[in-house]
Every structure is written in C-alpha cells, then in structure tokens.
C-alpha cells in the first residue's frame, strides 16, 4: 500500500470515479461538434458565435432545469409546452395593465407557472396519480385557459422593456443577460439540489420513495414543491422567450418539451430518477442547442434535421446511457 505507484493509481481511480462518464462524453461531443462545425466554417469558433449559442441555450437551460428536478424525482413533466406559453402570455398580458402591471410582468408570469405546477404536484403527491397523465391534463387546462384568455379578453401580446432587457440585453464584457439569468438559475438549482434537505429528499425519492417516506422525509411536500419549481421555471423560460421575440404566442412552448427532456437525459440524469448532476444538464443543453444550430447553419433541410437529431440522441444514449442487464 505504501508504494508510490499504488498511491498514484488510487488518486487516479478517485479522480476517474469523480468524473461521470456521461458528462465527460457529453462535453466530448460538444467539442466534437464544434470541431466539425469549424471544418465547415471558421466562424464556429468565434466568440460572437459561441456567446450567441449560449444565449439561445439559456432559454432551454432554464426550462431544462425544471424538467431535471422533476425527472430526478422519477416523474416527468409533460406540461412544459403550455406552461411556457402561459408564462410568456400572462407576462405580456400583465404588461398591458398599466405601469404597475408592467413592473410586475415577470413575477406574474412566473407565479402563473408556479400555480399550474402546484396543481400537477398535488395530483402526483396527494392523489397518487401518474405524473405523465396529470401533467398532460394540466397542459390541456393551461391550453384551454390561454385560448379563452386570448379569445375573450384580447390581451396585449408584446413584452415589457424589463422582459426584453433580461432576454436580449448585454451586460459588462458583452455577456448576454439571458446567460447571466441562466447562470443564476443554475447556481440556485445546484445549491438547492446539493446543499439542502430539499435536494437530498429529491434524490432519495427518486431512488426509492418508500424508503424516503419511512426515513421521515416529508415526501409529499417535497414532490409538490418540486413540481411548483418546475412550473415556475417553465413559465420563466416562457417570459424570457417572450422577451427575446418581443411578443408571446400560443404555440411558443411546443418546441421545448422534447429538447428539455433530451437535454436532461443526454446529461446523464437517469430518466427513472435518483441520479444525475446539474453539470450534465448544462452539457446536455449546450449539446442540443449546438446540434440544432449546426444543422441549420449547414442548411440541412428540415427533414434531415429531424432525422439526424433523433439518430444522434439514440446513438449517444447507446454509448453511455444504457440500463442494466437482467443478469446483473
């Protein structure tokens, strides 16, 4: 044991066990994508392009953060599309209420998402219904509410200056504000997941809810809170998107459900819950955004984009996201 080579090997093993192979592979794929892109055009490695990609990625990043917390519980949130739309549309509607509404636009949008998340959470935690169908119903209700809202009240659909500022503005050193927002959300998520009782309980529930309950964890409260956070983050993503496009629209959330889940899973989070780190989700989000961007820059036709997108996700998961054999 005292031999230096043994100690060295130990440190190496320790180091290797610290690095999640899934996260390493995801970052490896990002580098690979950038290299492939740079063969096509040198502008792929320019800071402007990278910052622009990170800015676009932040919208997906905020939404994927919520999706990740729910997936860590072993549940899934299919209400993302219309909760995103509710966030964006209610924020822009609040902007039309006058100066007070304009100031409160962002909180109003997020609060509506939290409310919808609480409904999903109640169904999952207290009524013990499968999250897949509960969030589907909440998605349908959110859609219905927005259709009635836009049709009956014709609310304002252009966003407030504050929303535009956080989504499209730049701060010092030309860092996009959206990226700072994502960094703040991500930092909060990392703190919540790794340093608080709430986070520990989320992982515990994802591993075995029964055990978590028997250990005295307040499982139902935590599940409900997790769905509320996810709803709030989806709606916040909608607020950012509305700010970015300077208006909100009904189908604005549709293209975000599948990429959000894909980003979380590509980042090494187990879809059955209990395992995963936020760093992986960051890698997954950047990977998905880069993939979409490179496919569109290469002027790939839309059908090719869909095919390659699906094939890449399957291929990457086959490399490192496989489940266990029965014989194990």
């Amino acid at each position: 044991m005292g031999r230096p080579s043994g100690a060295e090997a130990n440190t190496l093993t320790a180091l290797r066990s610290r690095i999640d192979p899934a996260i390493a592979a995801a970052f490896g794929c990002i580098v690979l994508l950038l290299l492939l892109g740079s063969l096509y055009s040198s502008s792929f490695l320019s800071p402007q392009y990278l910052l622009q990609q990170l800015k676009v990625a932040s919208f997906l990043g905020v939404i994927a953060t919520g999706a990740m917390i729910v997936i860590l519980l072993g549940q899934i949130d299919l209400s993302v599309p219309w909760v995103v739309a509710v966030g964006g549309m209610m924020a822009t509607a609040a902007t039309g209420w006058g100066p007070l509404g304009q100031a409160l636009a962002i909180p109003v949008g997020v609060a509506c998402g939290v409310a919808l998340g609480l409904v999903s959470g109640f169904g999952v935690a207290f009524l013990r219904l499968p999250s897949m169908i509960v969030t589907l119903a909440v998605n349908a209700i959110a859609q219905g509410l927005m259709v009635v809202h836009t049709g009956g009240f014709s609310p304002q659909d252009s966003s407030s200056p504050a929303m535009r500022f956080i989504a499209t503005g730049h701060s010092l050193f030309g860092i996009p504000n959206a990226l700072l927002v994502w960094a703040a959300v991500g930092g909060a998520a990392v703190f919540l997941l790794t340093r608080t009782t709430f986070g520990r309980t989320v992982y515990a529930i994802g591993n075995r809810e029964r055990a978590a309950y028997l250990s005295g964890a307040r499982t139902r409260g935590v599940v409900m809170a997790a769905f509320a956070i996810a709803g709030g983050l989806s709606a916040f993503g909608g607020v950012l998107l509305a700010g970015y496009a300077s208006k909100a629209a009904q189908a604005m959330g549709d293209p975000y459900l599948l990429p959000a889940i894909a980003a979380v899973v590509l980042g090494g989070t187990a879809i059955l819950g209990g395992r995963g780190s936020y760093l992986g989700t960051v890698a997954g989000v950047i990977l998905i955004t880069l993939l979409q961007s490179i496919l569109s820059v290469m002027q790939m036709e839309e059908f090719g984009r869909h095919v390659i997108y699906g094939v890449v996700i399957i291929a990457m998961l086959l490399v490192y996201g496989r489940g266990r054999r029965h014989s194990d």
């Binding site: 899934i76 299919l78 169904g123 009524l127 013990r128 219904l129 499968p130 897949m132 169908i133 509960v134 589907l136 119903a137 909440v138 998605n139 349908a140 209700i141 959110a142 859609q143 219905g144 509410l145 259709v147 009635v148 049709g151 009956g152 809810e209 029964r210 309950y213 028997l214 499982t219 189908a251 549709d254 599948l258 889940i261 894909a262 899973v265 879809i271 059955l272 036709e301 839309e302 059908f303 090719g304 984009r305 869909h306 095919v307 390659i308 997108y309 699906g310 094939v311 996700i313 399957i314 998961l317 086959l318 996201g321 496989r322 489940g323 266990r324 054999r325 029965h326």
Partner: protein
C-alpha cells in the same frame, strides 16, 4: 366455473366503466344533436372516434408491458404521408400500397422495440427520439401537403355499410378480432401482461419477456400505420404535420387512461382504451351540440380529462396502510 365471476368482473372493471361512461355521454350527445342521430351524424362521429381508438389500441399494447410509445403519432403521420403516395391506382397497386404502409408501420415499431430491448434505453426517451426520425422521414416524403388515395378504398372505409352502420366501426371490430384478441389469448400476450405486472418475476419464471416486448412494440407500429392509412382515407391527402402527430400521441395516452389501462403496466385492455378514445372524442363534441362558444372547448376538454383522471385516485379511500401508497 361460474363461481369466479367476481374476479372476472374486477379484471374488467376499467373496461366496463369506460364502456358505461361512453354510453352515457354518447346518449346525451345523440339526444341533443340538432339533426338527431341519423346515419350521417353517426358516420362522421365514428370516423373521428375510430381514428383515435386505433392509436389508443397501439398505445395500449406498449403500455401493458409497462412501456410507453411516444412515437405512435409520428408513425401515424409517416404512414399518412406514405399512403398518400403509394395507395393509388389499380386494385392490385392499391393492395400493394396498403401492404407497404402496414409493413412500414411494423418496421417502425420493430425499431422501437429493438432499441428498447437490446439497446436497454428507456422507452420514453427512445420513442421521443425515434418519433423525431419518423417525422423527418414523413417530411421528406411530403414537404407540402398533397397526394391522393384510391377513392374506392377511402369511400369503403369511411362510408357506410348497408343498413347505415359506419364502415369505420367494422374496421375497428376487425382490428379487435384480428390483432387484439389473438394477441391477448396467445402466450406472447400473456407474457406482455406478466412483464407489465413484474418484470423481475416474469424474467425469473422464464417468460419470454424480450419477445413479448418486441411483439408489443411491433404491433403498436402496425396499428399506428393503420391509423395513418385511415387518416389518408378521411382527408384524401398526406400532410407531415408535427402538431397532428404530437396531439394524437398525447390523446392516445389520455384515452388509454380513461379506458382503465394502468400506466404502470400489466392491467387493462385495448377494448377499454377504445371506449376511452370514443369517450374522449364525445367530450369534445358535447360542447358542439350544446351550442357553447367553441372558445371554451379546449378548456372544457382539459377539465373533463383532469376530472376523469382524478377518478383514478378513488383507490386512496381503500388504502388501510399508508405505506401501500409508496409502492
């Protein structure tokens, strides 16, 4: 063997409830329809309902194995686009075209199954990704909506049989008799139920779980392609619509749940899912007969879906030990 009826009743409780709920809703719908229940009203309603019912059957097969197929809608769209190109011309060409469409559906389902079984990926992620691929292929076939279908076939499937019975109901019945019942009664279908109830127990008992899973996914692809063919018959064209695909995928899950099939697998039947689908469609039509503002339709549909789903929590009242909740 007449003493086991309570067990049989319990096994089919979900199906019977779905059937009863559908009958009540349809009675309200028919009684209040402004034109009364004539053959044309029934045919239009049946065509819409049967389309969702077929997709729901496809979803049921996979859900019973405790999986989920989020690509059913996209397989349907792909089959729709393909059918609008090859199901034309002489009867022989049309028959070959139909065979080609159904074969494509089987291949799509088989790919899902192979990736889930041998790739050991979770069904939900696998089918999200393959759904994207299938949609891309559909888009490659039909960049703009268009195409055609053999009018004779389309009229035969969407019209009426002698006596005013909608032909689509006959198609649905045929699918139940040709696909569902043989599968349910065969060893492979029982294996799927066993797999859905407890994968470990099924594996330990030597049940051919891989084959059961594969067949379930493949048949789901087949049924989804039948649905795609039926879409083509209704619209006389093909359209690569992502919205259509995802709507049908999501509605199929709703129909499966309304039909009393457990999303955890191992219990329920495709017949229940069929009534769940018909019920879901009738909910949407009820608003129309009551002359409510169409603006309220999506909200109404969502609230009814939520209410129906909440009925599933009635079992909480029977729980004696809270630990039973955390399975």
């Amino acid at each position: 063997m007449s003493g086991d009826w309570p067990y049989r009743l319990r096994e089919h409780r979900g199906t019977l409830l779905a059937f009863a709920a559908f009958m009540v809703m349809f009675a309200i719908y028919a009684a209040n329809h402004p034109a009364g229940l004539n053959a044309n009203v029934a045919t239009t309603a049946a065509n819409k309902g049967v389309l969702l019912a077929i997709v729901a059957m496809a979803q049921t097969l996979v859900v019973l194995t405790s999986g989920i197929d989020l690509s059913v809608g996209m397989v349907m769209v792909l089959a729709n686009c393909l059918a609008s190109g090859i199901v034309v011309g002489s009867p022989l060409m049309t028959a070959l075209g139909v065979a080609g469409v159904l074969l494509t559906g089987c291949v799509c389902g088989a790919i899902n199954g192979l990736i889930v079984i041998y790739g050991r990926l979770q069904p939900i992620v696998t089918t999200i990704a393959t759904g994207s691929v299938y949609y891309g292929l559909a888009l490659a076939l039909r960049r703009v909506p268009g195409g055609d279908i053999n009018a004779g076939l389309a009229d035969a499937l969407t019209g009426q049989l002698p006596g005013g019975v909608p032909a689509s109901l006959a198609l649905l019945l045929a699918l139940v008799l040709i696909v569902w019942l043989p599968w349910r009664r065969a060893a492979i279908g029982r294996a799927a139920y066993a797999l859905g109830s407890s994968e470990t127990a099924a594996y330990m008992s030597g049940v051919p779980i891989r084959r059961a899973q594969f067949v379930a996914y493949m048949l789901a692809g087949l049924l989804a392609s039948v649905a795609g063919l039926f879409v083509t018959c209704i619209t006389y064209s093909g359209e690569a619509s992502a919205a259509n695909g995802s709507t049908y995928t999501l509605y199929s899950i709703a129909a499966v749940v309304l039909g009393g099939v457990s999303l955890f697998g191992g219990s329920g039947s495709a017949v229940g899912a069929i009534f769940g689908a018909l019920m879901f469609r009738t909910i949407g039509d009820l608003l129309f007969v009551f002359n409510l503002d169409p603006l309220w339709q999506p909200l109404f549909q969502g609230v009814v879906l939520a209410a129906a789903v909440c009925l599933g929590s009635v079992r909480l009242l029977q729980v004696r030990n809270r630990l039973e909740l955390y399975g």
